[in-house]
């Protein structure tokens, strides 16, 4: 029996394990879809309308122009007009509005004098998410509308009104380019692939050890590398399938553009999957028990995936120590590739450094995993 035959047997066996465990299948296929839909909806809320009550106490062409900008933005849907502050309370209580814009009397006069005019924007703080979103949008809008308009912020949660407590800047670092659902999906793809693959391979070698099958394999002619590669192939296939699934769903369901070179993206994804799997195998080779492997897998996949990949925060704003740490995980390189290809239309000529980094990472981590696993078996 040649090497291909043995490798094939391992691959077949691994696919059988996956097929026999419904939880694994759910994790691998359903979670990406659920995540994408969750993120998609949460984020598409960003671009959809915030129900807004407008109160024009000034009643001048200037105030009407200013408020028209809200209606025209697409971010805000004006659901009604009121006369006084109590109308806002009523609307928030009734749940008919999430935000209110109040243009006080004297708005046009102040502007005409060349001074900063004050505008109040009240946001229903009971829904923190929509509150933040609405704040951010109003800020963006104000900066577009007129630099001279000073906005006084208020966060209204029913009765409690505290002006000036919230700052609009809180949202801008979260999404530095511009507010767009599309920005998150390419990163999300990386995070999901990382979560699915690292954790799965993390438990795989430990499982062989716990089952006692590792010993049986050792006294067979099966080579260490054949076992490793045989375990990697099915998960490479599934990891790439997940990446494709997310990309296609993102493009069809959320209008994600694919502006750059798909081959660069594909090559990056393949290398990235190998890196993630190698990381999983490394955990598997080191972990003393299946439980430890599981927890390590989750930690290594989630923390660097979400926090140190640039998916949620730009890496420039995290402390230098964490920036260094982020270089130890493959997600950051792949997030750059994914965003670059999808959003910026980049191709091989700009992203080759990341591809090289991923390739080197894959080689090192797989070699290390094989070495450590072999050493432990002594």
């Amino acid at each position: 029996m040649n090497s291909t035959g043995r490798l094939g047997a391992v691959v077949r066996k691994e696919f059988l394990h996956i097929a026999r465990d419904p939880r694994t299948l759910v994790l691998v296929l359903a979670i990406p879809i659920v995540q994408l839909v969750l993120f998609g909806f949460a984020v598409s809320f960003d671009v959809s309308s915030v129900r807004t009550l407008v109160i024009d106490q000034d009643g001048t062409p200037a105030s009407r122009d200013y408020l028209a900008a809200y209606e025209g933005s697409g971010f805000f849907t004006v659901v009604g007009t009121g006369d006084e502050l109590s109308d806002v309370d009523d609307a928030f209580h009734a749940g008919t509005a999430d935000a209110a814009v109040i243009v006080p009397a004297g708005f046009a006069r102040t502007l005409a004098r060349g001074q900063k005019a004050a505008v109040s924007i009240l946001v229903d703080g009971s829904d923190t998410n929509s509150a933040r979103v609405a704040e951010a949008m109003a800020t963006a809008l104000n900066s577009l509308a007129d630099q001279r308009i000073a906005v006084s912020w208020a966060d209204a949660n029913g009765i409690d009104t505290q002006a000036g407590q919230l700052t609009a800047q809180s949202r801008t670092w979260y999404n530095p380019d511009r507010i767009s659902s599309l920005f998150l999906i390419p990163g999300l793809m990386v995070v999901i692939v990382m979560i699915v693959t690292v954790q799965q391979t993390a438990v795989t070698l430990v499982r062989e050890r716990d089952l006692g099958t590792a010993e049986q394999l050792r006294i067979s002619p099966l080579r260490q590398t054949e076992l490793m590669v045989g375990k990697l192939i099915p998960w490479t296939v599934l990891g790439l399938a997940d990446a494709t699934l997310i990309a296609v769903l993102g493009m069809i369901g959320f209008g994600l553009p694919l502006r750059g070179d798909p081959w660069t993206l594909g090559a990056g994804a393949a290398l990235f999957v190998c890196c993630a799997l190698g990381l999983g195998l490394l955990i598997s080779a080191l972990a003393p028990s299946a439980e430890t492997a599981n927890i390590l897998g989750i930690m290594v996949a989630f923390l660097p995936g979400f926090l140190l990949s640039g998916f949620a925060f730009p890496l420039e704003i995290v402390p230098p120590a964490l920036q260094w740490l982020s270089c130890l995980f493959p997600a950051r390189y792949m997030v750059t590739i994914s965003r670059g290809v999808f959003l910026k239309g980049a191709g091989f000529e700009t992203l080759w450094p990341q591809l090289v980094q991923l390739g080197a990472y894959a080689v090192v981590v797989l070699a290390l995993a094989t070495l450590l696993y072999a050493r432990r078996q002594r």
Binding site: G212, R218, I219
Partner: protein, 313 residues
């Protein structure tokens, strides 16, 4: 005139010299010398934690000795793994197949990675599962088999490569008596076919089925010999006394000058008596009716217990 040269003794299947294994500061196996002739069934006996599994794992080349060496099938376990492994079958104590795969899938997988080609795989699978009385269970998940079936499946997988040496680690522990008998009848067939077998077992009745025995205690071999030699090593004879209160008889017997050992077995008091007494002598000394005393054959269980009590194993 030339005398025909004596036939050379068949080479030993296993020859261990000073074989040792330490886990950190714990010495699990301490300088074991052990020779197993080709074609023998060696029973490796000893309490839990004596080091039986560790010895077997070193002989199976899945655990590296920290001291000494052993020749297995003519090659050193330190340097000759590639020579040993293809001709060796090792069955660990715990179920070591994939529980989520079916019986057929397990057999197919292990046969493939062990380098058996396709038509031969199928033939051996059908042959082995048939011999195990498992012909109809090919599509069942291995993890859902009964304990006895699991052990037989493991043996079938171990036998795929038709090994010259079988190392079995407590293969019948937790298996019902019927399955145990079946299992041993398979082992006897293999023995008749010339396979060398080393079997670790806690069951003394199984020890009696072996051709050779080795007692292991705290990592050291304390006694080796054939079952007959072991039972002969116990001084005295075994007598059984049927009594309503066997416990009282045993309590009374212990400590008397002629009594080597006394134990309860059901409603029998089993007493090992130094010398060769008549039933009347025993009855008089213990104060029981002469008719309740009869001589019994020394069995392995008693021999092992007595030797253990004497600290003379």
């Amino acid at each position: 005139m030339t005398t025909p040269a004596a036939l050379p003794a068949p080479p030993a299947a296993i020859a261990a010299r000073g074989l040792s294994r330490a886990f950190g500061t714990l010495v699990a196996v301490d300088a074991v010398d052990l020779t197993v002739g080709a074609g023998a069934i060696l029973g490796l006996l000893g309490p839990d934690g004596a080091g039986k599994s560790t010895v077997l794992r070193m002989l199976a080349t899945v655990l590296r000795p920290t001291g000494g060496d052993a020749d297995v099938l003519g090659a050193s376990v330190l340097t000759g793994q590639d020579h040993i492994r293809p001709r060796l079958g090792y069955m660990p104590q715990h179920f070591c197949l994939y529980p989520d795969l079916t019986v057929d899938e397990n057999v197919e997988f292990f046969a493939t990675v062990r380098g058996i080609d396709r038509p031969e795989r199928r033939r051996r699978r059908d042959d082995l599962l048939g011999r195990m009385g498992m012909a109809g269970v090919g599509r069942r998940r291995a993890g859902r088999l009964s304990g006895g079936m699991k052990q037989k499946l493991m043996l079938a997988v171990t036998l795929l490569t038709q090994p010259a040496l079988l190392l079995l680690d407590e293969p019948t522990t937790g298996v019902d008596p019927v399955s145990r008998r079946e299992f041993w009848s398979i082992l006897r067939d293999l023995h008749d076919g010339g396979t060398t077998i080393v079997v670790a077992t806690p069951y003394m009745d199984e020890a009696e089925r072996c051709t050779d025995l080795a007692f292991l205690d705290a990592g050291r071999i304390t006694r080796t010999g054939t079952p007959a030699e072991i039972t002969a090593a116990v001084p005295g004879v075994l007598v059984e006394i049927a009594a309503d209160s066997a416990r009282d008889v045993v309590a009374d017997a212990r400590g008397r000058p002629h009594v080597v050992s006394a134990h309860v077995l059901g409603d029998l008091a089993r007493v090992v008596w130094d010398g060769d007494p008549t039933p009347a002598v025993v009855a008089t000394e213990l104060g029981v009716p002469t008719g309740s005393v009869r001589a019994a054959t020394m069995d392995m269980e008693t021999a092992f217990t007595v030797l253990a009590e004497r600290g003379d194993r």
